[in-house]
Symmetry: C2
Subunit: 544 residues, 2 copies
């Protein structure tokens, strides 16, 4: 017997309609690539998204067709989130930091029919346009005044002209909620990138989860500045959650340096932000160098990589901004866990609270997880037993786009689980802590050493700007940890001094065997340290 409630699809267009009807006057503020600040309301955005849907239809885009974007965080990108996905097309966000060859490969694999891009990326797209056989229309996301006099791209279209010519009347279609809505490729360090194809349903469910009080806690009283790019797993879902909750949005455009961000936080009264640790380093360094503080910021979400405890302390103790440590993956839409304290932690001293906050947090409802040993058997939820982290849920991937790589799941208890490639512990209170990527784990004398712990200790040293710990081959122990360190500008530090800094903080045999100082640690397109490159570079360091 079925229930008798309305059969209504969970649709991305309903997020927009909700925002337009109940938060029509709410603002979206965007730093444009042209340099100025642009302001308009959700009502304006909704009208332009309807024009955009008509414009896409005019370009021959049909249900299921991919619409690629290469763009910063801004209002035009937001409009495409809704005009493409709302009309039944598939929004495909591309990471402009990828190598042009890889970008072209992904566009081809996705078979993008239309490609929309910011002015910044015109040279990039011009350089690869000839290789983009699937793309029927190139759209520059600017107005007539900023269109180039000439372009290597024939028939380059102007986004604002397309909108102007399109009707503002458009009825969002009543799609099947299982319909594909958006596509993000993982930045695989080995092999070709693979696409995660989100559905209307998975996106709406994920939006509910993102907004919850113990997740990113979004309300109509918040001003949210997503530093995390809209080309990186849909800015962790914030462009959707903001419509669900009526939060004001502030988009930083291309200006992600510490000064630009701090200025925008202050001038727009931002209350919540979200980004990866490397971005926050730039912001904190700028604020410390100039003796600045925050006026309105209440909390920031840090994910993408583990948040170093020293960064957490800086935000919380020096600047009075609560850090929400979070964890997710492209394959998870991305939200998996957020580290919000429980009632029993409220009375603890700050140091004890931060020990809890160093964990990646508790699963939001909808995501289930377990850790398994090398034999696949579930490990106890005791906060100590580390194993591969498996996840499942309605916004977790089932297959990659075009079935690349075959079935990614592992099966247990009659259910499919996605293997995250992370090594983690779970505790009885539901808190998960990543100890390593499984490919980064250091196996020494038959035991595992967690590289993240070793990096966090190094990062707590006042002279260290960035640290990576990698395993290098060792004749007796198989592998031993090597620390690769970038010093802060002007700081003095020796390998011995840094290794002494580990004393008493960790089991003696975990202490790195050596330290090498470098100018920079290579970062991938999403800001993560590329340890595989370090492993290649320092493969023989210890045996020298």
């Amino acid at each position: 017997m079925n229930g008798l409630m309305m059969q209504q699809s969970l649709l991305i267009s309903s997020l927009l309609t909700h925002a337009e009807r109940h938060h029509g006057e709410q603002l979206i503020v965007s730093r444009r690539v042209e340099g100025d600040l642009h302001r308009y309301t959700f009502r304006d955005m909704a009208e332009r998204a309807r024009r955009g849907a008509n414009a896409l239809a005019g370009l021959g885009v049909q249900a299921g067709d991919r619409v690629g974007t290469v763009a910063w965080n801004g209002y035009r990108h937001m409009e495409l989130y809704y005009s493409a996905s709302g009309s039944g097309a598939v929004l495909h966000t591309l990471n402009p930091r990828l190598h042009p060859e890889q970008l072209a490969w992904i566009v081809g694999h996705a078979e993008d029919k239309v490609l929309c891009f910011d002015l910044t990326f015109l040279p990039l797209i011009e350089a690869v346009a000839a290789k983009l056989a699937s793309v029927k229309h190139f759209v520059l996301m600017t107005d007539r005044a900023h269109m180039p006099a000439a372009s290597k791209i024939a028939n380059l279209l102007c986004y604002e002209e397309l909108l102007e010519a399109a009707s503002p009347d458009y009825d969002w279609p009543q799609l099947d909620e299982q319909s594909a809505a958006s596509l993000c490729y993982t930045s695989g360090t080995t092999g070709n990138p693979k696409g995660a194809l989100y559905s209307q349903r998975s996106t709406v469910l994920h939006s509910f989860a993102v907004a919850l009080p113990d997740a990113l806690n979004c309300s109509a009283r918040d001003v949210i500045l997503p530093v995390v790019p809209m080309f990186h797993v849909n800015a962790w879902g914030l462009p959707y959650a903001a419509c669900l909750t009526g939060s004001r949005l502030v988009f930083p455009g291309p200006a992600l340096d510490g000064k630009s961000l701090h200025d925008l936080f202050e001038s727009e009264g931002v209350t919540v932000s979200a980004g990866v640790p490397t971005v926050w380093q730039g912001l904190l360094a700028h604020m410390e160098a100039h003796g600045l503080s925050f006026s309105t910021m209440r909390r920031t979400v840090i994910g993408g990589s583990a948040c170093p405890p020293s960064m957490m302390s800086a935000f919380q103790q020096r600047f009075g901004v609560q850090v929400l440590h979070a964890w997710g993956m492209t394959e998870m839409s991305p939200l998996g866990t957020v580290c919000q304290l429980k009632r029993q932690h409220e009375g603890l001293a700050q140091a004890a609270q931060e020990a809890v906050q160093a964990k990646q947090g508790r699963p939001v409802f909808g995501v289930d997880m377990k850790v398994v040993g090398e034999d696949g058997a579930e490990l106890p939820r005791d906060g100590r037993s580390a194993g591969e982290l498996l996840v499942r849920g309605p916004w977790v991937i089932q297959r990659y786009f075009k079935d690349e790589g075959g079935d990614p799941l592992v099966y247990a208890d009659g259910q499919g689980w996605f293997p995250t490639g992370d090594v983690a512990t779970l505790d009885a209170d539901g808190f998960m802590q990543i100890t390593d990527r499984s490919k980064d784990v250091i196996k020494s004398g038959g035991e595992w050493i967690g590289s993240i712990d070793l990096e966090n200790i190094a990062m707590a040293h006042p002279a260290v700007a960035m640290a990576a710990c990698i395993g290098v081959a060792h004749p007796k122990w198989d592998e031993r940890p090597l620390l690769v360190v970038v010093k802060k500008p002007g700081a003095e530090l020796t390998a011995d001094a840094l290794l002494q800094f580990y004393e008493g903080k960790i089991a003696k045999w975990w202490t790195p065997d050596d330290v090498v100082f470098v100018e920079a640690i290579p970062l991938g397109a999403t800001g993560k340290m590329q340890k595989n490159k370090l492993r290649e570079q320092f493969a023989r360091q210890l045996s020298n």
Copy 2:
């Protein structure tokens, strides 16, 4: 083209599994009908719900069978929420305040196969048991020690014995998310009650909405005491939302008087509560009479009937507890709107904020609404145009159980809308305000007079305990407002003095024509004033 995320049903059992895994140590505290306080954890609850699922199967309950409950808010009732709905049966909560004949009629209409009830209700059920032909098993929700030596009910079963005999091992079935999960009958003032049949999907989606920051704002740091009964639209979804968020639950059992509630708020550190205005009146009167305050309470949700502004001020200004005015219906699972302020209201003075808070609030995402005129055309969202309120959404009713009453929807723009029977305004910021029930609206000289406004003014008078405003026939104006008033104990008040109190507060022609003082206003089974009875009683008041 479909998305490629996991196909996972939204199931009530997954709420329980989430709570057990990630909030296993969280407490559920219950005032028992036996008088004492019972404490256990979500982990304990989950184990007993699994035993309960086995026990129900042992009684022959199959998927879709109805399991009736007549019970207070307590842990055994909570277990049945999950053991019944989680296993694919339909939980059917019955209101013990109904007339026994009506209760028997509803059990028969629902065809309840098992009926579980608290010790309090043994005489009630014994009195009607012979009429309950569908019921194969009667289960008294108590332990062996409290079972009666003899009962008029043959083979009366003991809940605790059933659990003890059942295995704690049970795999929650992977149901279709459209499966029926629970059943609530409306307390229709005319005709027979009709059943709203919720699905697994509608319940889980509603739980997400309930927990949102701008709805009831539930987190793992909250201690929630639902005063609203679990037999009244599933206690507004709190028994589900608490599992989703890991909030502590405190159940008051049958002790709903002011003293019992205040004692429990204080002893258990309650942070959030929810109930109808009539319950809060008792609590506030007790607190004022004894000079009490709240130590931990942060907010209370008031719904079921409009919250009088005087009650809101008392909570907020005298006791420092935020009032969340809310509105919903049995046919809406029930949540429709919650009155959480927006950013632009944050700087307002308290009186100006309370003018906003007097409205029923903004729709939670998922619920769409509009007001229409008598011709069915949509009225502007201007905060002034009042019309019938229509709603739609994935937790809004499509048909009543057994198709009673036929198709309840009205159709516009190709979509079905549920007509709420409420008269309301909507404003540009999304705030809805009920001005009347459409059957209570007073039509005077071709214009509408909102009875709720008139009642709120009367309630603000210090001598008034309760007020109802009804339309009575008038030879010239068709109808004119009559005020029916219960004075506070010992208070002195004349009709003239009360009518003078309206001066300057409202258009002169809205002022009631007369006042009658009564000992009590009849309340329905869910605590709402029964104005239809007053209209019968005072039909000729003005012409006398």
